[in-house]
Symmetry: C2
Subunit: 79 residues, 2 copies
């Protein structure tokens, strides 16, 4: 199965990378940009065939390694 | 409007960051991981109110700044 994990900063956490992108877009003439937040996308190929088990496994991966849950949230999609 | 851009490496392009995650997951005891690819997620708040115009604007941003189209592909979702 394939899992798609998105890791994003929690609201209120400063995102200098997003701010840099917003500024660069403004400099390129994209004037309608009101805000940018950058996150991570992680695609995982799993041997597991059961969707529920795969989701539980990927959530454990997020808690242990993929996301810093103090400042980040994650979402898991199983396909 | 909000736009959600995902930027991923094209198939065949070496992804050392993904390989490092796969190795770290293996070291943590997640034995069913067959492959990991890491990409970027960029969320943009736009002043533009029309979905088609917003999409065209975000695609121009991807071509000019957000993605390196030599090695990366991007997908745009407008919400």
């Amino acid at each position: 199965m394939k899992a798609r994990v998105t890791v994003t900063l929690k609201p209120g956490v400063l995102d200098p990378q997003g701010a840099a992108i917003a500024q660069a877009l403004g400099g390129l003439g994209f004037t309608g940009v009101q805000g940018v937040r950058q996150g991570k996308l992680i695609e995982i190929d799993l041997a597991e065939g059961d969707a529920a088990t795969a989701r539980a496994e990927v959530e454990a991966m997020c808690e242990k390694l993929l996301a810093n849950t103090v400042i980040e949230t994650y979402a898991v999609e199983i396909a």
